[in-house]
Amino acid sequence: MVTSPPRDAERQVALETTYAGRRRRPGRWAPWVYLSAPVTILLVFFAGPLGILAVYSFQERSRTGDGSWTLANYAAALQPRYLETAANTVVIAVVSMVLLLAIAYPLAYLIAFRVGARWEVPLLLALALSDELNPLIRIYAWRTVLGRNGLVNTALEALGVIDAPLDWLIFTKFSVVVVLTASWLPYAVIPLYAAMKTIDPRVLEAARDLGAGWWVTFRKVVFPLTAAGFLATIVIVFIPLISDFAAPALVGGTSGRMLASVIEDLFLGRGQWGVGSALTFVLLAASGVVVWLSYRIADMNSLDTSR
């Protein structure tokens, strides 16, 4: 049995060596030297383009670059038709996120604690592999499942549950949520699984032994101890969810439209780069708010987990 005291002692030693090593290191610039490559990449390929978009978003006729400064693009971006799509986007992303967590938490728990050593790695591999599939092929596969003559409708008709094919299965918010949830499941399960693996299974047994059923055990023990993984999952998954454009384009129809597909259309279809840029920043702000909120929720100090 691995025990805590020696582990603490090791950590202490590790800390001391780290500090000692840092003190001995010659220049204050060393960290910047190490960081220069990733920082350069970030500046050139992320901050740079973002800056250009920011300029576009505040210019008139910005495509030719001779426009004057204006807020008109933001005014256009905040029109009702875009706001409706924005609301749609947030609804789809939040519903998918909630569904993802509702599926990923139990799944991660089962893989980490219940399935046993024999199935643990195969299941994780299966999850990772499911993400290897080309996203387009995966979405087309969903069309054959959810389509008018797809698997679900055919099966339900054969069983006599329905007389006519369900028409809300595809080209609706529903289908976008299904496809997004399925596509991002591995990215939700893996950080949660990693967080759960740090919990000593005996701690869960102790909770049960002390009178906690599964829900109290989850609320008082599993959730607080996986708060960091919970946060990581939201940060990793929510931004791709809210900015996805392939799923809405292929299975969303008109009711399942999302902001990213509108932005794509503004840039590539209609050539309205200014409005597209402005919408981009609206979307960025929205995801920023969600990430900030999830920090607040997962903040263990503000969460009373003791009672």
Partner: protein, 360 residues
């Protein structure tokens, strides 16, 4: 009389492996009871069945006289102290201990009173606000104990709780655990592979081997009158000398003979259905042996050769061998000079009233 805990024919199989085989136990209220055995003997599985984490394949379990076999752990009137302590790492000492009372819906002021009282019992009241990671191993151990005790269970279960502590602290905690158990008066079921630990603390010990109970009894009985060869060898050090019963009035052996023809009195035996000719071993504890430089005339003595003498401070250990090659260990106090050195011939005699025979 109702027992705090009763096991009737409890068996646990994992696939083809029988981990626990038809175990019968009855533990009265307030007893310190140990399950002692080597690793893999089924003692931890037995404990986990009592706690409710495993369900018996066969047999029945009674808690406070009521059927308890299928009660889930969170509704069972037992609490477990884990070997790894399993404290909630994100909760303070106080909140760890208060976890059980809160689940039971104990009112706030009652909770505070009980938690503080039990923290005082384990001498941790000054650490109530600390997180487990800020405690030493011994302190965590006390918190784990307090967290279980605060629920006032019918039976407190302890799974090698001192296994992770260093020797000195372990010895201190053994005494302290015994004191705490007397103070709270709750039955303890203590799992350990350390026979010295079991003897130090227990009112009674069950020695387990390969899923079965070999013997149940007070420490003195298990030590002086082992029921099987396994118990004789597992508890303390033992010299086992082959003997044959030559007198057994009413089935109780009184005299035995060594293969060399030497005869000796028998004080006790594991069976009362012996006959003349029954075979077994005479169990001689190293500290019950006396070494003589010359053959004594008034009592039976076995001739041996000293292979090695090992000075251990308060005692000297003698490694001896008989002419037929049987190995014997003897311990003598250093009060008198050694009767010889390696290569010398010595004669051993033993405390006649401790001559216990284990028949096959």
């Amino acid at each position: 009389m109702s027992y705090a805990l009763e096991l009737r024919g409890v068996t646990k199989r994992f696939g083809d492996v029988t981990a626990v085989d038809a175990v019968d136990l009855a533990i009265p209220h307030g007893e310190f009871f140990s399950l002692l055995g080597p690793s893999g003997c089924g003692k931890t599985t037995t404990l986990r069945m009592i706690a409710g984490f495993e369900e018996p394949t066969e047999g029945e379990l009674l808690l406070d006289g009521r059927p308890g076999t299928t009660i889930p752990p969170f509704r069972r009137n037992t609490n477990l102290v884990f070997q790894s302590y399993a404290l909630f790492p994100h909760m303070s000492v106080y909140d760890n201990v208060a976890f059980g009372p809160r689940r039971a819906g104990v009112p706030r002021d009652e909770e505070r009173r009980r938690v503080n009282a039990v923290l005082r019992t384990v001498r941790m009241e000054a650490y109530a606000d600390r997180l487990p990671r800020a405690l030493s191993g011994g302190q965590r151990q006390r918190v784990a104990l307090a967290r279980a005790l605060v629920n006032e269970p019918a039976v407190l279960l302890l799974d090698e709780p001192l296994g992770a502590l260093d020797l000195k602290l372990r010895k201190e905690m053994q005494i302290e655990l015994k004191h705490i158990q007397r103070e709270v008066g709750i039955s303890f079921v203590y799992v350990t592979h350390d026979q010295e630990e079991a003897m130090t603390m227990s009112d009674r010990i069950a020695v387990m081997n390969e899923g079965r109970i070999e013997q149940i009894g007070p420490p003195e009985e298990v030590y002086h009158r082992p029921a099987t060869r396994f118990v004789a060898e597992f508890i303390g050090a033992a010299n086992l000398l082959e003997v044959e019963v030559i007198a057994a009035p009413g089935g109780k052996p009184t005299r035995a003979r060594f293969p060399s023809g030497l005869e000796t009195a028998v004080a006790s035996a594991n069976r009362t259905d012996a006959t003349v000719g029954s075979r077994g071993v005479l169990v001689l504890r190293p500290e019950h042996l006396v070494l003589h430089a010359a053959p004594p005339t008034d009592e039976p003595a076995v001739e041996t050769t000293i292979v090695e003498t090992i000075f251990q401070g308060s005692v000297v250990r003698f490694e001896l061998t008989t002419p037929d090659g049987t190995h014997i260990t003897a311990l003598e106090t250093t009060r008198r000079p050694a009767p010889g050195g390696p290569g010398d011939t010595v004669w051993i005699t033993w405390a006649q009233e401790r001559a216990h025979v284990v028949l096959d």
